[in-house]
Amino acid sequence: MASDKDKVDKESFARTQTGVAEAEEETEGYTFCDGCNEVPFCGIKFYRRGDVVTRIEPWPGFPASPLCSKAYATLQRLYHPDRLKYPMKRTHPKGSSDPGYVRISWDEAYDMIVGHLNRIKKEYSPHAVFFYVGDPKEPRAAVQRLAATYGSVSYGCESSTACRRAAQLAEFLTYGFPTMGDLPTEETKSMLIWGTNPAYSGQPFLCHGRLADAKERGVKFIVVDPRITPTASTLADIHLQPRPATTAALAAGIMHVIFEEGLEDREFCEKWIHGIDELRDYVKDYTPEKVEKITWVPAKRIVDAARLYATHRPGAFLTGAQGTTHDLNATNNHRAILMIPAICGHIDIPGGLPKPTEPLVEMDGPWADGPPKFCMRDKMKGMREHRLDLEAFPAWAEKLFEIQTNHLVEWIKEGKVKAFLGWGFNTMIWPQTHEYQQAIGSLDFAMAVDYFYRPQTHDYVDLVLPAAMNYERLAPFAFFGRQVFGRTPVKPLGECKEDWQIALEIGVRLGHPETFFNGDVEAACNDILGLWNISYEDLRKNQVNGIGIPAKGPALYRKYETGDMRPDKKKGFNTPSGKIEAVSLILEKYGYPGLPEYKEPMETTSEYPLILISGSRVPYITHSKWRGDSPWLLELQRDPLLTINPEDAAKRDIRTGDEVFLKTAYGQMRVKAKPTIMVPPGVVGIMHGWAKANVNELIPRQFDPISGFPPYKEVVCEVVKA
């Protein structure tokens, strides 16, 4: 493989060098960053000579701006000599130490894919082909259309594995609409930030700068995070540092104080919360003193936080995609947090926690998930009975259209999944990664689309396809609320193709040329843009400022009183009871407890006295990406670093840079230690996604019974000097 790849690299670079020589004028171009897997994207303006991108800067006036370190590094990544530039197929049997990848043509690659898909459909079932989109999220719409047309309900993504969906499920069950909160407005008096560090993980339009401005305006901040994050350091008036995975107890403690002192919005509670009496009863036991024992948060601080948030009205709220859902009580922990702004009456009021007015109905959710019509979601819903997660996670399967993927190992073993088509996927997302690697390696056929060869995934598949990068993609375009923007790609390096094109061309070769626009990416985009009577050409004509899709009226609040909260226009919230559900009727229906109950997490022992949290971000890495993708970023951190409190480090004679073993009952690994007060005593933290020290091998395949999420922030561990 190595010699073949070298040859490919040299050819490709000879080509790009020629491209420069031929180019004369420097011109401008526009694209988005895919550096952190957030959608909507941050806007990049770039300068090009011919098809060579020379420098970049923030897209002036773009809603998500400025850029971050990862965005600047996309320029270096674009011309990394190790980029995949040609389709490659394995020539050695799976399980060989060297897969023996050789360059093949796109025709041969497509013939392989289509051959397997047609055979599996005939011999087994179309649902035995699993379609998956990891990082970036960009190909989701095109891949869903492919799955639906082929006839498989088996579509999942990283969000439906370990990221956003557990919190979103909690939000659907509790509020009836998804929300991660919003930035404070001019009206906002207090801000509750729970389990997220927007300074490092927030999209720039939700960025730390806007929060810092609010702080300077006098907004009071409560930050809940076990770690001393920069968000806590720079913003918090009150910083609560709970023991990981004790969220529901801390939330119960805060609600206890609010009810006890009569600080709740009584009218809202009585009128709009289903199960308010049960909730009141439930939290009665959770006195600040008891909660201090459970969560480590001093009782006085719990009282202070409860008073501050309930009395500084309106209170805004911000939570993360997954900071609060990586434990075995994920859904209920998150539901418990959601009840705090609810009992304070902060829901859907200006400066509080609003539900956006008139989101684009044609989109029915965030753009990243794809518009339902284009994604053929009705067809997918019609195949619901074939969902593989129907029995294990019924509440999930009722509310979310993607499959919860964590049981993939079992499905493959049981012969329910025979092939896996993955765009930007990485096996390290799953706990006990090696089980997923072996399972994927045992499939009839597996395919990956990516930018680089990533051994921890691609060693287990049959076919690796080279994806065009952000400067080389036309699709997707970007949506911000009601504003839409296009991009102006350069020609991809080598034979790279953009994700959408690959999905469309597979669809064409499966025998659906019209459904897949004869492989024309712009035509596919136009099919969606046509919902608002615009085209990509219109986007080009309005390149810098984009096109606004006018709203029918101004932002509305307290929409539960007017019928604007529910699709059927009845008053109330879009839940079975029509109210915010402290007691969830859907959960009760499936035999779960209705209240957001606290469940004691895994207990520390003398053998494993520390708690391991992973999954928190550093600002220049996303998941398993980056590292060597851009040497600029790799220079900032070459190795996985285990953060450990100086007190715990001293007890173990561990100093900065020492090699240590991190051990849980499920695995161990060798890493470097970084003693720091960022983590409290008793807790250690490490970034996930390092191939040379994959922390998810230390996490068991145990799952929250409602959402199926793994305990990335709960497992007990020990650290010893190597």
């Binding site: 690299d9 670079f13 790009t16 060098q17 491209g19 420069v20 000579r49 060579v52 991108v53 020379t54 420098r55 970049i56 923030p58 400025p66 850029l67 971050c68 370190s69 990862k70 600047y72 590094a73 320029l75 270096q76 674009l78 011309y79 990394h80 000599p81 300074a199 490092y200 720039p204 960025c207 730390h208 700068g209 810092a212 401005d213 001393i228 920069p230 968000t231 806590a232 350091s233 720079t234 910083h239 600002p619 220049y620 040497p631 600029w632 970023l633 220079e635 900032l636 951190q637 070459r638 190795d639 670093l641 100086p646 840079g657 470097k672 970084k674 720091t676 007060i677 960022m678």
Partner: protein
């Protein structure tokens, strides 16, 4: 004539490293050479971690100028301190003379061992860094001359930095200037880069810099 400087409000800095990589993209410095650094200070007494951008101070009284045997370093009328890349012979005297430890000599190696990205072949002068030459922040003089701010200032997502003419009463840099302090002021360097420190951290930040001004990354 203007007298350019940068003020940092460290109450807003999160250590996100955007300035570091924005500078890399803007100036293409070589591996291991960071014109923009971000250092961190852990203060157990204050229960917080303070991050601060750290780079050439563009001193009004720059010790590097006198230290250079080739007279390659000069201060422009607008206060920007630059190293003349033609005259510099890489003796490294400036590296020793700078109390802030923010000058490096360019190493031989590049990022992709000779397989350089195509844009490097057509890069502008400010993006070329021959090995063996002394190298430090130019305050993005090429941008200032086009009426723009330095890349690190413009790109900071948390708006930590304010760039401006210290002598212009109307410059936004003057708003917080009275609250700001200079690092190692006792050395007599008269730096034009200053900091608004979170309460009770200025001494500790200074000690942190004295201990190790390099951005040593594991």
């Amino acid at each position: 004539m203007a007298r350019y400087g940068i003020l940092h409000d460290l109450n807003r800095c999160t250590g996100c490293m955007t300035c570091v990589i924005a500078c890399k993209q803007e100036n293409f410095t070589r591996p291991g050479v960071w014109w923009n650094k971000v250092l961190e200070l852990e203060s157990e007494s204050l229960d917080r971690i303070v991050y601060f951008r750290y780079a050439c101070m563009h001193c009004d009284n720059p010790p590097c100028v006198a230290a250079c045997p080739e007279q390659a370093i000069y201060k422009r009328p607008d206060g920007i301190v630059l190293i003349d890349q033609e005259k510099c012979q890489g003796h490294g005297e400036c590296v020793k003379a700078c109390p802030y430890g923010v000058i490096d000599v360019n190493p031989e190696q590049d990022y992709f061992s000779g397989q350089n990205p195509p844009f490097e072949g057509i890069a502008e002068a400010h993006r070329m860094h021959p090995p063996g030459k002394a190298s430090t922040c130019t305050l993005c003089v090429h941008r200032i001359e086009q009426g723009r701010e330095p890349a690190c200032v413009e790109e900071c997502p948390s708006k930590v930095m304010v760039f401006g003419d210290l002598d212009d009463p109307k410059s936004p840099i003057r708003e917080k200037l009275w609250r700001s302090e200079q690092l190692l002021a006792s050395k007599g360097t008269q730096p034009k880069v200053s900091y608004v420190f979170p309460q009770n951290t200025s001494k500790q930040v200074e000690q942190r810099v004295m201990k190790n001004p390099r951005m040593d990354r594991p």
